[in-house]
């Protein structure tokens, strides 16, 4: 009992009849066509090469016995099919007939008849041995994806990132502007099982409220004046992938409600449509704002914060990442000298001192721009102080200006406002008291390096 290949014919697509197997045999990716019982009806040549089995011996054999993938045995996606199920992409490993075990990426999708009723499944398998080998070769010291750092804060982050990527939980990334929130979001996506699916970034602060709703959730034809055709929203485009909502703190309050509903049901309702659309996306949100404070000010919904705040990653500002300024300076120096084909040998002592002592309110982005500027300007062997942007040498004035317009943070104990410097001063005193004067221990409590603590103690004139 075997299927006759010459009987699977496509009749109306071309001028003459075409054999369906001849089309799928040309695709360089393993393809299985299954019936509703997950038995193999058709298999292409690439799948024969991957598994070592041949088409005529596997007809109507359950796919798990031929593909021999860990996913098929542990959590077969076809077993948990729901109404509206669409494609799923997962990574796993298979053992072929030659007894080789290797990593694969599998895409599972339903096959429907013209009435939309499920009649079978299609399974595509891609050998990703080459990608995995490449990944392990591109590891650079003190880096993780595009993120560079060797400070204790960054090392902690590098340790937890893979496990965060593996999970499918929502992630909230906080940190000052220029600390690398976008890079972190992209790295999480690239390390996750959704890596091959879309990564869609939406800046919640960049679009007007009316447009944003249509951008996020899409609209149907005739939903509003000018809606001449159906438009899929970004959520639909990101199906099976990741949505990155940057500047989530700027999301208008009524859209916060819509996002909240989506996080609960995983169903989107395009503008002008009553029919929901199930969408499988992972949410990563980021903001430089203090969301807890915004909740207190009734500018951000508390329940949305709780839903987004499943995994919280806080990125420390560059000034608190001990040793990273030097590392990043050298990294940007090397990449820009190469890019601009310059033969500059390095930084002069004075320029290094200025760069290392600057506070970088714009964090890594600012440091990157400074180095790019200096390399453009410099025609000598070394980058001197005069090659740096003028405002760096006026750093002292900047700090004084900052003191006149302090960053105000409400104290949790009373409603008085305090300057950051006095909060930091108090933190140091508290840590020193807790550590009974031992600076090593106090630095550990504060999450700083010992030299950072020493520098701050000196700066605030704290006597031990």
């Amino acid at each position: 009992m075997n299927i006759i290949h010459s009987s699977i014919i496509i009749t109306k697509l071309f001028n003459s009849q075409v054999l369906f197997p001849s089309i799928i045999d040309e695709i360089p990716m393993g393809i299985l066509v299954l019936n509703l019982n997950r038995e193999i009806m058709l298999m292409n040549s690439a799948m024969e090469a991957l598994t070592g089995f041949v088409q005529h011996e596997v007809f109507r054999v359950p796919c798990a016995y031929i593909v021999r993938c860990n996913i098929c045995l542990e959590k077969c996606p076809f077993l948990s099919i729901k109404e509206g199920f669409s494609s799923i992409c997962l990574e796993g490993d298979i053992i072929n007939k030659e007894r080789q075990k290797f990593p694969v990426r599998l895409t599972f999708a339903p096959i429907r008849n013209i009435n939309g009723k499920g009649v079978g499944f299609i399974e595509c398998i891609e050998d990703i041995r080459a990608f995995k080998a490449l990944e392990s070769n591109t590891v650079e010291p003190y880096s993780f994806g595009h993120i560079i750092g060797r400070s204790p804060q960054m090392e902690r982050l590098f340790k937890i990132l893979p496990s965060i990527a593996e999970s499918d939980s929502s992630v909230l990334i906080t940190g000052e502007t220029g600390t690398g929130k976008d890079f972190i979001a992209e790295t999480i996506h690239n390390l996750s099982q959704r890596a091959k699916e879309p990564f869609i970034k939406i800046n919640c602060g960049a679009l007007p409220e009316t447009l944003l709703e249509s951008e996020l959730f899409g609209h149907n034809k005739g939903a509003f004046t000018g809606a001449f055709e159906n438009k899929p929203g970004r959520f639909k485009l990101a199906h099976n992938g990741t949505i990155y909502l940057t500047e989530i703190g700027d999301l208008p309050i009524n859209l916060q409600v819509k996002l909240l509903t989506f996080l609960d049901d995983k169903i989107i309702y395009p503008l002008g449509s009553t029919k929901g659309l199930p969408v499988n996306v992972r949410i990563i949100a980021a903001t430089h704002r203090n969301l807890e404070q915004m909740v207190r000010d009734d500018k951000f919904r508390e329940d949305l914060l709780f839903r987004l705040n499943v995994v919280r990653l806080h990125l420390f500002p560059l000034r608190n990442r001990e040793g990273d300024t030097r590392l990043l300076m050298d990294h940007f120096f090397n990449s820009y000298t190469k890019q601009f084909k310059k033969t500059i040998k390095g930084f002069s002592d004075k320029a290094s001192k200025i760069l290392l002592n600057y506070e970088y309110p714009g964090n890594i982005r600012e440091l990157k721009n400074i180095i790019e500027y200096a390399i453009n300007i410099c025609h000598d062997n070394h980058i001197e102080a005069e090659h740096l942007p003028a405002y760096l040498t006026e750093n002292r004035i900047k700090i004084d200006e900052k003191k006149q317009t302090p960053l105000v943070i409400p104290s949790p104990t009373n409603n008085e406002t305090l300057e950051w410097s006095s909060i930091e001063h108090k933190m140091i005193i508290d840590a020193l008291l807790k550590a009974r004067g031992r600076k090593n221990k106090a630095a550990e409590i504060l999450g700083w390096g010992r030299s950072t603590l020493w520098r701050k103690i000196k700066y605030y004139g704290i006597n031990s």
Partner: protein, 111 residues
């Protein structure tokens, strides 16, 4: 007395040796008469523990689905006979084995 082990997944030969959580062990006397049969449920899928079980139980032949080259060679080195890439129900496979016609890569479904 010869001992045969079949890796199980429901009532079928398990597709993967390394993910097996259940095994069927049968003792045979005089090449044909099954003397003792037992099914063991393993606490978790562990290829090392399964190999250890095969060695300590003194299994002569293992019937399984996909097995990695490393473990295949290890068991061969330990003088265990392996018939791998077998697809079929336990009964069909045992019947064919007793008839001395079971071989590597046999697919005994829909045949």
């Amino acid at each position: 007395m010869r001992k045969i082990l079949v890796t199980l997944y429901d009532n079928y030969v398990a597709p993967r040796f390394d993910l097996t959580t259940e095994v069927f062990i049968m003792s045979i006397r005089n090449d044909s008469y099954p003397e003792d049969e037992k099914t063991l449920v393993l606490p978790q899928a562990s290829v090392e523990k399964l190999c250890h079980l095969i060695i300590t139980e003194g299994i002569e032949t293992v019937i399984c689905g996909g097995i990695e080259e490393e473990y295949y060679k290890y068991l061969k080195w330990k003088k265990v006979n392996i018939i791998d890439s077998v697809i079929g129900t336990l009964d069909t496979v045992i019947k064919k084995f007793m008839e001395k016609s079971l071989k590597e890569g046999d697919i005994l479904i829909n045949s």
